[in-house]
C-alpha cells in the first residue's frame, strides 16, 4: 500500500467525523477500536519500511495550489517513523487508561482529530502542510484542556494556545521568506522541504531564519525561558491531555529542529550551538531543581519532563550521529515514560482526587502492582541502565561530550537531580507507614489500567535491553542527514564541526 501515510492521516479524521453519529454509551469502545486499527496500520508501516534506506519512503505528492507551490506532500524516514508509531500507540493506550465520565463522546472525537494532526505533522514534507497540521493540533488540545481540566483550565488552555500560536506565526514568516528565496533563485514557487534542502542560503539569512523557526519550535518544546505555559497546561489538563501533550505534542518542537533547522541552516545551526547549549543546560538544571521543590506529584513529573526535553535539544545540537540519534531515541523514550508517569498519577488522582504528595505515604503496601509499575517507570525516567531512558540519555551525553565536555557534565547532573526528586517522590508516596486513613483501602490497579500500562512496561524493558530494531533505522537516516549537512555547509567552522563528528563515528 503506497498511500499508507494518507490512510494513517485521514483514517482518524474520518472516524472522528463518523463518531458524531455513534451513541454516547458506545463512544469509548468506538474510539478504542479506531485507535487500535490506527496502531495496526502504523505497525504495518513499520513492517513495510525499509530500514536500510535513509531517504523518504511512501512519498505522496498531490498539487494543492500549484501557482503558489503548495502541495500535499508526505513521506516518512527513520527519524519520523517511530514518532508516528508512538503517537498512535500513546493515543490508544491513553484512551484505554482514560477514566472520564463527562462527555466521553466529545473527548473521543477530539482525540481522534488530534491524532490526525499529530501524524500529519510528523509525515508532512511540505512546509505549509506541516504548518497546517501544527496549528490545527492546537484546537482539539485547547478543547481537551479547557473542557475537562482543573479549576483554572480556561486560563491554562488559552495560554497554551496563544503561546504556540504566536511562535508559529513568526515561523510562518520564515517559511514564506524561504519560499521567496527559492522562487527568486529557481523561478518557481515551492514549499516542499526537499526542494528547500537544495537551497544554499547566505549565512546571515540563515541566522535570521534560524531565529524565526526557533520562535516556533522553542515555544513548543518548550525551551527555557518560554516554558511557562507548560506547567499550567499540565497542572490543569486532564490525565489524557497531559499524556498526549507530554508524549507527542512536545516532540513536534524537537522534531522541527531536526527536520527544518539542521538541514536548512547547517551553518547557522553550528553557530548557534553555544546559544542552544546554554539554554538547554539552564533548562535541564533549573527545571530539575524546580521539580524538586514541587509538592504536587503531577507538577514533579511535568517539570521533570521539561528537564528531559532539554537533554533532547542538547543531543540535537551535538551535530553528530550519536547525539542526534540519541535525541530521536530519547524523544520516543520520553514519550513513553512521561506518558506512563502521567497515566500513573492519573490513576491515583482518580481514586483520591488529589495529587499532593503529603496526602500519601505507604501506598506500596496497599497497591503493590501500582508501586511496581510506578517504580519501573521512575527508573526509566531517571535513566537507569537496561531501561529505555538509559539508551537515549547515554547516547546524547556521549555525542555531546565531543562538542563540550563541560556542558555534558552539567547536563549529566540531570541524572543525579532526577534521581533525587524522583526517589523523593517515590519515598514520600509509596514507602513508610500509611499516614492517611483514606489510603488504607485503595483498590490496586484494575484490569483496564493494567491493559494501558503493561504494554508500556514491556516496551520500556524491551527497548532498554535491545534498542537496535528502532535505533538502526534512526541511525541510517541521521547519518544521511549529517552527510547532507556537511556537504551543504559553507563556513569552514561548520564543515569542521560536522566532519569531526563523522570521523569519530567511522573510527569506531
Amino acid at each position: 500500500m503506497d498511500n499508507i501515510l494518507s490512510v494513517l492521516i485521514f483514517f482518524p479524521a474520518v472516524a472522528g467525523l463518523l463518531g458524531f453519529v455513534v451513541d454516547k454509551s458506545s463512544a469509548r469502545v468506538y474510539g478504542i477500536s479506531v485507535a487500535t486499527v490506527e496502531l495496526l496500520l502504523a505497525i504495518w508501516l513499520w513492517m513495510s519500511f525499509d530500514g536500510t534506506n535513509a531517504g523518504m519512503q511512501f512519498v505522496e505528492l498531490i498539487p494543492l495550489v500549484p501557482d503558489f507551490g503548495i502541495n500535499y506532500y508526505v513521506g516518512v524516514d527513520g527519524i519520523s517513523l517511530f514518532i508516528v508509531i508512538m503517537a498512535a500507540l500513546m493515543t490508544l493506550l491513553g484512551m484505554i487508561g482514560m477514566n472520564i465520565e463527562k462527555d466521553v463522546k466529545n473527548m473521543i472525537i477530539s482525540l481522534l482529530f488530534l491524532e490526525m494532526t499529530m501524524i500529519g505533522v510528523f509525515v508532512a514534507l511540505d512546509a505549509i502542510v506541516f504548518y497546517l497540521f501544527w496549528e490545527l493540533s492546537l484546537v482539539p488540545m485547547l478543547y481537551i484542556i479547557g473542557a475537562w481540566g482543573g479549576p483554572r483550565r480556561i486560563y491554562a488552555s488559552i495560554k497554551f494556545f496563544l503561546y504556540t500560536f504566536t511562535g508559529s506565526l513568526i515561523m510562518l514568516v520564515g517559511m514564506l521568506f524561504i519560499a521567496y528565496l527559492y522562487y527568486s533563485v529557481s523561478g518557481v514557487w515551492s514549499f516542499s522541504i526537499t526542494d528547500w534542502y537544495a537551497l544554499v542560503l547566505p549565512v546571515n539569512y540563515q541566522i535570521w531564519l534560524f531565529m524565526a523557526f526557533f520562535a516556533g519550535f522553542a515555544i513548543k518544546v518548550p525551551m527555557f525561558p518560554f516554558h511557562t505555559w507548560l506547567p499550567y497546561a499540565h497542572g490543569q489538563a486532564p490525565t489524557i491531555g497531559s499524556v498526549i501533550l507530554a508524549a507527542v505534542l512536545l516532540k513536534m518542537g524537537t522534531y522541527g529542529f531536526i527536520r527544518f533547522s539542521l538541514p536548512l541552516f547547517p551553518d547557522a545551526s553550528v553557530m548557534m550551538i553555544p546559544f542552544m547549549t546554554v539554554l538547554a543546560v539552564i533548562m535541564i538544571i533549573y527545571t530539575a531543581m524546580v521539580a524538586y521543590a514541587q509538592e504536587d506529584m503531577k507538577q514533579v513529573i511535568a517539570y521533570s519532563s521539561v528537564s528531559h526535553m532539554g537533554v533532547i535539544v542538547l543531543g540535537t545540537f551535538a551535530m553528530n550521529a550519536e547525539g542526534i540519534s540519541g535525541s530521536v531515541f530519547l524523544m520516543l523514550s520520553h514519550g513513553i515514560v512521561s506518558g506512563a508517569l502521567f497515566m500513573l498519577v492519573g490513576v491515583i488522582y482518580d481514586r483520591r482526587h488529589t495529587k499532593e504528595m503529603s496526602e500519601f505515604g505507604g501506598l506500596a503496601a496497599v497497591m503493590p502492582k501500582y508501586a511496581v509499575i510506578f517504580g519501573i517507570m521512575l527508573m526509566a525516567s531517571v535513566g537507569l541502565p537496561l531501561t529505555i531512558g538509559f539508551v537515549g540519555e547515554f547516547l546524547v551525553l556521549l555525542g555531546f561530550y565531543q562538542v563540550s565536555p563541560v556542558a555534558t557534565v552539567l547536563a549529566g547532573t540531570t541524572i543525579i537531580i532526577g534521581a533525587m526528586y524522583m526517589l523523593r517522590l517515590f519515598k514520600r508516596t509509596f514507602f513508610g507507614p500509611i499516614t492517611n486513613e483514606a489510603n488504607r483501602n485503595l483498590p490496586d490497579l484494575n484490569a483496564r489500567e493494567m491493559t494501558a500500562l503493561v504494554p508500556l512496561v514491556i516496551i520500556v524493558v524491551w527497548l532498554g535491553v535491545y534498542p537496535k530494531p528502532v535505533l538502526a533505522p534512526i541511525d541510517t537516516s541521521v547519518k544521511a542527514l549529517l552527510n547532507f549537512m556537511e556537504e551543504k555547509a559553507q563556513t569552514p567552522e561548520a564543515k569542521e564541526t560536522i566532519i569531526l563528528s563523522k570521523q569519530t563515528k567511522e573510527a569506531e
Partner: protein, 496 residues
C-alpha cells in the same frame, strides 16, 4: 453657430454600462410592482433581487477585459470585473438573510430592496471608472442608499448609527471632492490616466510635490473614513452595532472592496510615479489600524462590536497589501476579501440567527458574550459552525482566511517588507485571543440559566447561506488554485 456633435451609438460601447443599468432597472421594477400591488410578501422581493443580481452577474461575466465606454469614462479592466463579481456574489449571499423566521419590519418594505439595488449600482460605478467625478457619483449613490438601509432597522440606535454614518460620510465626501479638486488644479484633468501622464511630466517641478501631498492627504482621509482606518474608524463599531447583523457583515465587505479598488487606482498611480511617502503614509495607517483595533477588540463585551473591530483590523491588514503595489499584493486584496466575504458574512449571519426582538441578556448589548455561553450544549451545530468561523478569522489553517493571510504576508515578504509580515503575524496572534474568547464561551462555559432561545431567528434560507459559508470556509483549500490564478490573471491584465 455651434458645430453639431455627432456621437455614434457604437462608440459609446453601452455594454460597459449594462451591469449597472440592470441593477437600476431592477430597482425600478421593484418599485413599480409595489405601485400596483400592496402588501406582497418579502420573499417575492428577495427572490426578485436575487434574480436581478444573477442577471447582473452574468452581464459582468460577459464583459471584455480592458475596454472603455461611454465617452471613455467607463473603464472595464480586470480589476473592475473581479471587484464587481465579488460585490455581486456578496450581495447574493446577503439578501436571503432577509427571510428570517421572525418579522423585522425593514425587510417588509419593497423600498429596502430597491435601495439595495441602487446601492449596488453605485458600487459598480465606483469600481468601473477612472473618472473622479463618476467615482464620486458612485460613492454618493451607494452611501446615501446605505444610510437609509441602516436607519430602517428597528432599534433606537439604528437612527443614531445612520446619522453618525451620514455625518462621517458627508465629511469623507467633502474630503474626496477637495482632493479631486487639487488633482484637477494640478493637472487639468479628472481622468486618472491623463492625470498620470501630466504628473509624469511635472513630477520634478518644485511646488508639485507639496500639492500632491495636500491632495493625497485629503483623498487618504476620505478613503480612511470609508475603509474605517485609524484614526477615522471611530464610527464603525457604533454603526455596526446599530445596523442589523447581516447588514453590518455586508458593510464590512462590499463597500470596502469598492473603496479599495478606487484607492488602488489612485494611490497605485502615485506609488508608480515614485511618490514614496504615499506608500509610507499608507503603511503607517495600516499598521496602526490593525494593531489598535485589535487592542480595542480585546476589551469588547459584545460579540458584534468585537466583530466590528476585527473587521477594522482585517481592513488594515489588506490596506498594507495595497501599499506594496505589486501584482501579488493587489491579487491578495481581492483574494482576501473573496475569502473574508464568506466567513465574515457567515459569522454575522450567526449573530442574526440569535437575534431577539428584545434584549434579554444585557440592557445595552444585543449580543453579549454571555449569550453564547455553553452554546455547544444548547445548539451543538451552531456552536461548531460559529467556532469554525472564529478559527478562520483567527487565521488557523486550513480554513479560508489563512490562505488570504499567507498570500498577503508572502506578498509583503516578496516586496522586501519582512518587518511588515512579522507585524501582521503578531497581530494575528493578538487577534486570536478575542476570537478564542468567543470559542471559550461557547464550548467551555455552562449556559446561562432560563434561556433556550439562542437560535430564535433561524430559518431555512438562513441555514442555506450559513451552509454555503461553511462549505467555502472549510473547503477553501480545494478552490484556492483556480481562485488565485483567475484573480492574478485579471489583476495583471489590468496592469496593477
Amino acid at each position: 453657430m455651434l458645430e453639431p456633435i455627432n456621437v455614434s451609438l457604437a462608440s459609446l460601447n453601452l455594454v460597459t454600462l449594462s451591469p449597472m443599468l440592470i441593477a437600476i432597472a431592477g430597482g425600478l421594477i421593484i418599485l413599480i410592482i409595489d405601485l400596483f400591488k400592496d402588501g406582497l410578501h418579502k420573499s417575492l422581493y428577495v427572490m426578485m433581487t436575487i434574480l436581478i443580481l444573477f442577471v447582473d452577474f452574468g452581464s459582468v461575466m460577459g464583459l471584455n477585459v480592458n475596454e472603455r465606454g461611454f465617452f471613455d469614462v467607463m473603464l472595464i479592466d480586470g480589476v473592475a470585473i473581479i471587484s464587481q463579481l465579488l460585490i455581486l456574489a456578496a450581495s447574493i449571499l446577503f439578501i436571503p438573510l432577509a427571510l428570517t423566521s421572525k418579522r423585522f419590519h425593514e425587510y417588509s418594505y419593497p423600498e429596502f430592496f430597491a435601495l439595495f439595488l441602487f446601492m449596488i449600482a453605485g458600487f459598480q460605478f465606483m469600481v468601473a471608472s477612472d473618472n473622479l467625478v463618476l467615482i464620486f457619483v458612485g460613492i454618493e449613490t451607494a452611501s446615501l442608499s446605505l444610510y437609509t438601509l441602516i436607519a430602517l432597522h428597528n432599534r433606537n440606535n439604528s437612527y443614531e448609527a445612520a446619522v453618525k454614518y451620514f455625518t462621517m460620510g458627508a465629511l469623507a465626501a467633502g474630503f474626496f471632492v477637495m482632493g479631486s479638486a487639487i488633482i484637477y488644479a494640478l493637472t487639468g484633468s479628472i481622468e486618472l490616466y491623463q492625470v498620470a501622464d501630466v504628473l509624469q511630466d511635472r513630477i520634478n517641478e518644485p511646488a508639485v510635490m507639496g500639492t500632491i501631498l495636500g491632495g493625497s492627504i485629503f483623498l487618504l482621509a476620505a478613503f480612511a473614513f470609508k475603509l474605517s482606518l485609524f484614526p477615522f474608524h471611530t464610527w464603525t463599531p457604533d454603526v455596526y452595532e446599530g445596523a442589523s447583523a447581516p447588514l453590518a457583515g455586508y458593510m464590512s465587505i462590499v463597500p470596502k472592496i469598492a473603496v479599495f479598488v478606487v484607492a488602488m487606482r489612485i494611490f497605485g498611480m502615485y506609488i508608480d510615479l515614485g511618490v514614496e511617502w504615499v506608500r509610507i503614509l499608507i503603511l503607517i495607517l495600516a499598521v496602526l489600524t490593525m494593531t489598535l483595533s485589535n487592542m480595542m477588540a480585546l476589551v469588547q463585551q459584545d460579540v458584534k462590536r468585537m466583530l466590528a473591530y476585527s473587521s477594522i483590523s482585517h481592513a488594515g491588514f489588506v490596506m498594507a497589501a495595497l501599499a506594496l503595489d505589486t501584482t501579488k499584493g493587489n491579487t491578495g486584496i481581492f483574494l482576501y476579501y473573496g475569502l473574508f466575504m464568506f466567513t465574515n458574512l457567515g459569522a454575522f449571519a450567526m449573530l442574526w440567527i440569535s437575534r431577539h426582538k428584545n434584549r434579554i441578556f444585557h440592557e445595552r448589548y444585543d449580543h453579549p458574550y454571555e449569550k453564547f455561553a455553553g452554546l455547544v450544549k444548547i445548539m451543538p451545530m451552531g456552536a461548531v459552525v460559529m467556532g469554525l468561523f472564529m478559527l478562520s478569522l483567527a487565521g488557523v489553517p486550513p480554513f479560508s482566511i489563512f490562505w488570504g493571510k499567507i498570500y498577503i504576508m508572502s506578498a509583503a515578504v516578496d516586496a522586501g517588507y519582512i518587518w511588515l509580515a512579522v507585524v501582521m503575524g503578531l497581530n494575528s496572534a493578538i487577534a486570536a485571543f478575542y476570537y478564542l474568547k468567543l470559542i471559550v464561551y461557547m464550548f467551555l462555559y455552562d449556559p446561562v440559566e432560563n434561556d433556550n432561545t439562542v437560535y430564535y431567528n433561524a430559518s431555512k434560507p438562513l441555514m442555506t447561506i450559513i451552509g454555503i459559508a461553511v462549505a467555502a470556509t472549510v473547503g477553501s483549500v480545494f478552490f484556492m488554485q483556480p481562485l488565485i490564478s483567475y484573480i492574478f490573471y485579471m489583476v495583471s491584465a489590468s496592469g496593477y
